[in-house]
């Protein structure tokens, strides 16, 4: 159902007859996610009803065409990621937007402060850290400052800051398994022996062989990870998720969110193709789609995905889109390594939209939520949600 007021204001605007007050009112509506569908519908209507043919500035049409062909010339396929993991787009990270009743909070990029926060301080954002378990059971703690070489039989493992990389093919005769565990409040990046890149989110675990031999490449995941799988047509890659579903891929980029405390696991495909197998059924995803598997029943559905949203964690955000408070709180709990105690008795506002930078301190995030009627208090390593 179209909002009459929106229709009126848009009409005034496209005719350029709007007053300043009407423009301000229209801006509030345009900026409000609640009206997204309606605004889109309106644009479709303008598109369908036939428009005056506006002329592009002279030469612009050709210029655009040439620009597209030239800048993509040595033709990279799909998307090239020059922006490295966890190095999110700096300006966006400094923006906090929470859209409630048409109110937007924006944070300006301010002074750059060097991280001087003690890791033990509650509410400090997560950082690069992980625990590597070697084949013989030995554990190596990895943090952001580390720079070391770990020799395991014939396999060399190199850690540089938040990245762990396996070199060489190793000796296929002596394949052994390593596990990288990222605790709550952590994240880490891994390059497997075949060149596959994996970004692990907080509270996640990946088990993998130190060399991929045999007919397939199999890794096991609990939690959340983003994969950029190295292409090897003769050796398919698959991910076993929570010992239940299996994601089979050739060469492709995708995200799997499979925290057991969430109601469903979600596999989101960015490029390439993957097949998700759960219980007796299997589905092939196309780019921009996601498979949702119910944690309990294993039932699977395929739906269009909001890819930016699924990858927001990797870019440094909590992305909210009709997200309820418990879901948001579970995300905060994993990233800030805090326990959430909900004393609100369900007495809190419904759903949130917008995005929050993961570089903020927990205190600041809660402060923003406060403005949306979520009252809370930090006690040691706990966040208590108050009823009012």
């Amino acid at each position: 159902m179209l909002n009459e007021r929106l229709l009126y204001l848009m009409d005034r605007y496209v005719r350029q007859q709007q007053t300043e007050a009407e423009m301000a009112e229209l801006r509030l509506m345009l900026g409000d996610k609640q009206y997204e569908d309606q605004v889109k519908m309106l644009i479709d209507q303008y598109s369908a009803q036939g428009l005056p043919a506006y002329k592009m500035r002279e030469g612009a049409g050709t210029e655009i065409l040439e620009t597209i062909l030239e800048t993509t010339a040595p033709a990279t396929q799909g998307i090239v990621r020059s922006i490295r993991p966890f190095r999110h787009i700096w300006w966006a990270a400094a923006v906090v937007v929470l859209c409630g009743a048409g109110i937007y909070l924006w944070q300006r990029p301010a002074r750059v402060e060097v991280a001087a926060t003690a890791a033990s301080q509650p509410g400090t954002p997560g950082s690069n850290k992980a625990i590597l378990t070697l084949a013989d059971g030995a554990e190596v703690a990895l943090d952001d400052k580390g720079n070391q070489q770990i020799q395991q039989g014939t396999t060399a493992v190199h850690q540089q800051n938040g990245l762990l990389q396996y070199h060489g093919s190793g000796d296929p005769a002596s394949v052994s398994y390593n596990t990288l565990y990222v605790p709550r409040g952590g994240q880490f990046q891994l390059i497997l022996p075949d060149g596959t890149k994996v970004w692990l989110n907080a509270a996640s675990r990946l088990k993998y062989p130190t060399a991929f031999s045999g007919r397939s490449r199999v890794v096991e995941l609990q939690g959340e990870a983003y994969f950029e799988v190295a292409k090897r047509a003769d050796q398919p890659f698959s991910v076993k998720v929570n010992n239940k579903e299996v994601v089979e891929v050739l060469g492709t980029d995708f995200n799997i969110m499979s925290y057991t405390e969430e109601v469903q696991s979600v596999t989101t495909l960015v490029t390439g193709a993957v097949k998700v197998i759960s219980g007796g059924s299997q589905q092939t995803l196309r780019p921009g789609q996601q498979a949702l598997v119910d944690e309990h029943t294993g039932a699977m559905t395929v739906a269009p995905a909001d890819v930016d949203r699924a990858l927001a964690w990797k870019t440094g955000f909590f992305e909210l889109d009709n997200t309820d408070l418990p879901t948001l709180m579970r995300q905060l709990s994993r990233w800030y390594d805090v326990e959430i105690i909900d004393q609100s008795k369900g007495n809190t506002v419904g759903e949130f939209g917008g995005r929050i930078s993961r570089t903020l301190n927990l205190r600041d995030v809660l402060h923003v939520l406060e403005q949306y009627g979520v009252h809370s208090r930090i006690e040691d390593n706990k966040v208590v949600i108050l009823s009012k």
Binding site: L30, I43, P52, Y54, I64, A93, V112
Partner: protein, 203 residues
């Protein structure tokens, strides 16, 4: 053209194989319609041109999947509509924000690794500048680094102010396409709108 849909299928198939002439044909068929829609709703020539660029850049970047699209025209217009919507939304929010008092936000900003991220993006920007033509590079650098006005750049390089404008607009377009095609996030639009288009008059 009665056989247009079939003809279009062939074009899309050929684009998939990387045929630039097929891409040009599709571009010629739709670019003005998309421009008109974008201009009608954004009321800005610059923004409407950018939307055309983003839409067709996307078409070109995902050429592998084009033949799988059932109704290309609808798909294309949905793409355009989404870009237009995103612009309307972000521009509305930005302007609404500018009208709010700054102290409306009381959250203390702590952007720990802002410097690093900035560096990443700057690297990408540097690469983008490197692939400009020498003259575009010169103009861009004088404008951005030395903060010269268009007239001053024209004087320095012995070009007409109009020529400088053309170089500048080509440079901007090219940088924008370079960066958007190399980052998966549409959000980059924000950055570009805010930081690269300073040369152009504000909306």
């Amino acid at each position: 053209m009665p056989d247009q849909p079939d003809n279009e299928k062939i074009l899309l198939q050929r684009i998939r194989e990387g045929a630039q002439d097929a891409f040009k044909a599709i571009y010629a068929r739709y670019n003005e319609k998309i421009y008109s829609l974008a201009y009608h709703l954004t009321r800005s020539e610059v923004v409407a041109e950018e939307i055309v660029q983003d839409v067709f850049l996307k078409v070109w970047m995902q050429k592998e999947t084009l033949p799988e699209i059932r109704d290309f025209e609808s798909w294309l217009f949905i793409l355009a509509r989404n870009y237009i919507y995103t612009w309307l939304k972000t521009s509305a929010r930005r302007q609404a924000h500018e009208m709010l008092a700054d102290d409306h936000v009381s959250v203390e900003p702590l952007e720990v690794d802002a410097a690093i991220h900035r560096k990443e993006l700057e690297n990408l920007l540097r690469e983008a500048i490197r692939q400009l033509s020498p003259q575009q590079q010169q103009v861009y650098i004088l404008f951005r680094e030395e903060q010269l006005t268009r007239e001053a750049i024209a004087g320095r390089l012995g070009l007409s102010s109009e020529t400088v404008k053309v170089h500048m607009s080509r440079a901007m377009r090219s940088i924008r396409a370079y960066i958007t095609s190399r980052t998966p996030f549409t959000l980059i639009l924000f950055f570009l709108l805010k930081n690269l288009l300073l040369f152009f008059p504000a909306m």
